[in-house]
């Protein structure tokens, strides 16, 4: 029967295994099935012990990122039929430690995300009674793209520097910092600059550009980083040439 496709799924049990191994399953693949549907079929019908994360099945919660035939993908937005006749290989996201089967440890990502202070920083809070901060659609567009990040970590999985250099903050976190820096309501770019510019934050990025290629939300973290480098460098240059104007 050729209405089934072979899924080679990475398995790893920390209790016993020293290495990842691959297990093969045959699953149906109707036109509308995504890779995640295949995994759910395995879990529900063939092997209840397979572990992976998922939730929304509509490409917005960011939890189902895995490596599909070598590429980082959201498995709920990647169709099985596109890999016919198979086999299709499912592995955990690269550059992250594997906890179990297809589940990776996201702790490093979360810590780095937090480190760039991704929240609106104001020198003085505007009282609620004064209403909203005005922001024209054009001003919104300045940062809108960078606010679309769903924290799926595909970019980090695709970036070799993220894998090589444990200090590198990574594309998603920098894009998020840039999202706030470019928001007219925010006044914290100086603070974030200190975090990012003064250590490996951004300088480790060698503009491989893969991060932007795999991003499912078109956030373009590579662009965010280069723009940020330019701002940070100009800022440094200013304080280098005019030290008396430093903050």
């Amino acid at each position: 029967m050729n209405d089934r496709i072979t899924m080679q799924v990475a398995r790893y049990l920390p209790e016993g295994d020293a290495e990842l191994s691959y297990q093969e399953y045959e699953v149906p693949y109707p036109r509308e099935w995504v890779v995640l549907d295949g995994l759910n079929y395995i879990k529900d019908r063939l092997d209840g012990s397979l572990s992976y994360r998922w939730s929304c099945r509509m490409g917005i919660c960011g939890s189902c990122g895995m490596t599909v035939n070598g590429e980082p993908k959201l498995t709920c937005a990647t169709f099985l039929a596109d890999y016919a006749p198979g086999p299709v290989r499912i592995e955990p996201l690269q550059n992250f430690p594997v906890i179990r089967d297809l589940v990776v440890d996201t702790g490093d990502f979360m810590r780095k995300l937090t480190s760039v202070k991704p929240w609106l920083i104001r020198e003085e809070e505007k009282p609620l009674s004064e209403g909203e901060h005005l922001q024209t659609p054009a001003e919104l567009d300045q940062y809108k793209q960078y606010s679309m990040c769903i924290n799926c970590m595909l970019c980090c999985a695709a970036c070799p520097v993220y894998g090589l250099d444990s200090e590198f903050v990574g594309p998603a976190a920098i894009a998020l910092a840039q999202r706030y820096n470019l928001d007219g309501r925010d006044q914290g770019s100086k603070l974030r600059l200190d975090v990012l510019s003064d250590h490996e934050g951004i300088w480790g990025c060698t503009f491989v550009g893969e991060c932007s290629k795999v991003c499912p939300e078109n956030v373009d973290p590579a662009g965010a980083i280069q723009r940020y480098k330019l701002t940070a460098a100009m800022d440094s240059l200013k304080s280098f040439l005019m030290p008396w104007r430093g903050s």
């Binding site: 594997v98 491989v208 932007s212 662009g223």
Partner: protein, 133 residues
Amino acid sequence: MYTNYHPRWHRKPMSTYWWLERRSYLAFILREVSSVFIAWLVVFLMLLVRAVGRGDASYQQFLDWSARPLLVVLNIVSLSFVVFHAITWFNLAPKAMVVYVRQRPVPGHLIAASNYLAWAVASGLVAWLVLGG
């Protein structure tokens, strides 16, 4: 929390040959390697300047030297690497530079196009100067 550093999580170290694992990684490494060839070409041009400065004889000597097959091959390879560098550089430039004209970002391909235009003009200028305008 202690589990963050759990020793039993499986960590796959990056292979030394990671840049062979994907075509895009290979392209990246080739782009980076262009740095070596640029450095060589700078040295080559500095030797040229030195020769020109030392008089006609040494200039002719330089010309002869640079026609040696090995050197020509090296320079052809170097040239292709710089051109590769130039192309990737101009294509990526719009990412780092967002230019606003009347509140609207200028589309990336226009920025790239203006880069190419500048490149053509600069090259023309060089040729005109060298070839004796």
